[in-house]
């Protein structure tokens, strides 16, 4: 829709090109402050970090060139592999589960609540789910570490009150459970984002598709599977990409909830590189960890962008 308007406007705009030309400031000049600050704050530090990853350096004195030694060491480092394995768990908690649950919640809110109880009710419920997203992660961490505290935390108190005292756990202190507790908190934090995006996406689906399917006798689940899912595929790929990247970057939650512990049970790459930089002051090694993380994230974003454009192309093909 907007595309046709834009094309028309551009065609009109091209015509009056005959008058005398005044000297104009080039548009490229407007890009100058943005590009310069970008070089200083992002590009140069990034290149420095990559460079340092090939050296041995403690942060003082001059770095000593060591070639690929840091990367070779990483390959044999159990802590490094464990941190990336935990990242996969974070991807499940922050991308897979929120996307699936968010889809069902969004469809239910849109179909049942929005249509039969008014959009106001749907908006209030949506707001409840979205609330944790605006909370600073440090604060969410404080709230949850207190709820999950072993001695007088609210969760254990609740379990005891309803007669499930034997289910009480040291949620963040038990190496076998801590990772799952952190995952649970991350689901809570993350769920609002896919929900809001999917609800917005559902609004542009043609209601006639649903009416036709309903006339053909398709139930809710079939309509969800055959109409809703294909129609909001662009949103799904965007959400999956963004959430996966966010999951790989998780830092604040781990810092506040567990500090990577107990015994490294919840260590993730960003926290691992942070402690390597600032506590062990092995700057070269820390840089190598963060470089590996960066490469993985950049590859994922390229795949995500491809998926997104392909989904949009497919959608346009359907509409044409």
């Amino acid at each position: 829709m907007t595309v046709t308007v834009e094309r028309g406007a551009r065609a009109v705009g091209r015509q009056p090109h005959t008058g005398p030309r005044r000297p104009r400031t080039s548009y490229a000049l407007f890009l100058l402050p943005g590009v310069l600050t970008f070089l200083v704050v992002v590009v140069v530090p990034f290149l420095m970090n990559t460079g340092v990853s090939f050296t041995e350096w403690s942060g003082v004195g001059s770095p000593k060139w060591s070639g690929l030694a840091n990367y070779r060491e990483l390959m044999d480092d159990g802590e490094f592999w464990a941190s990336f394995r935990h990242s996969l768990f974070m991807v499940v908690a922050m991308a897979v589960v929120p996307t699936v649950v968010g889809l069902v919640l969004a469809a239910a809110l849109f179909d049942y609540i929005g249509k039969h109880f008014g959009t106001k009710t749907a908006a209030v419920l949506r707001a409840c789910f979205y609330l944790p997203q605006v909370l600073p992660i440090a604060v969410a961490g404080i709230v949850w570490s207190w709820i999950l505290a072993p001695d007088n935390g609210a969760l254990n108190a609740l379990l005891k009150a309803i007669g499930l005292g034997s289910w009480q756990q040291d949620w963040l202190g038990d190496p076998d459970i801590a990772l799952y507790s952190v995952m649970g908190v991350m689901v809570w934090v993350q769920i609002g984002f896919p929900l809001v995006v999917f609800m917005a996406g559902l609004q542009r689906v043609d209601p006639q598709l649903y009416e036709a399917a309903e006339l053909d006798g398709a139930g809710w689940w079939r309509r969800f599977w055959h109409i809703t899912l294909p129609q909001i595929r662009p949103e799904i790929s965007v959400v999956l990409t963004w959430c996966t990247i966010a999951a790989l970057k998780v830092f604040g939650a781990v810092y506040v909830l567990t500090k990577g512990g107990p015994g490294g049970a919840t260590d993730v790459p960003s926290y691992f590189s942070f402690t390597t930089f600032f506590e062990k002051t092995q700057v070269g090694y820390g840089a190598a960890i963060s470089t590996v993380l960066t490469v993985i994230i950049l590859l994922l974003s390229l795949v995500g962008l491809r998926l997104q454009t392909r989904a949009e192309d497919a959608e346009e093909g359907v509409r044409a």
Partner: protein, 274 residues
Amino acid sequence: MTTALRRYPVLVALCLAALFMVLPFLIVAVNAFKSPAEYSQHGPLSLPGGFYVDGLKDFWQRVDYSQKLLNSVLISGCVAVLAAVLSILNAYAIGIGRIKGRTWVLAFFVLANVLPQEALVYPLYYLSKQVGLYDTRLSVIIVFTVIQSAFGTYLLSSVLGQFPREIIEAARIDGANRWQVLWRIVVPVSRPTIGVLLVFFFIWTWNEFLLPLVMLISNDNQTVSVALGVLQGQRLMDATMTNAAALLGVLPALVFFLVFQRTLTRGIAVGAVK
């Protein structure tokens, strides 16, 4: 109809799920007003017997919370405005100026957007020490202005790419130069999108953790997020203090949420599909 029968169970299920989402906030609110004695006697689930605010006052003074709030407002406010200005300038050149190589420039900004801060944090720490900006609020303002403007450039460029060209041509014929066209026409017309950006930049910067944690070490410069995160990390707080910290951390976020709810939900949808 079968759907009519199923409507209410779905409503109830969704309400229960929503309740679960806000339950942690409720529990924090209830417990922040209990005295330590009351807490240790009745545990976290009882309703407070009185209205005990000494814990909150105590915490406020101990961490000098006014200063932390001021720092957060100052840093987030400056970043929001400066990053919006930078995004507008970039997007003007890319979206309306259609400069050569704009696809590459844009791709560059998009990739920068996903770059993990871990890959920048040590050099930024090192460089800021070299130029004497370490442990200053200015350093955090500069860094986040640039980082946030990457997203702003990406979003605004696609919005400005669809800007009606007739308006610009008309202004041009009336003798306006490019600078005037930008501030008198493009910016006022794009106000809704710029508003969304301002809100997002403010809240994102408010919530940032890693870089402020590294850059701001002295008490006088720390933001709310960093101060609370560090306190929690030290494991020195008792239950009442933790609750005070949680409540005081939740409140500003709650205020932003209530004030900006519509902008936020609309903005996310725009940002995701663009």
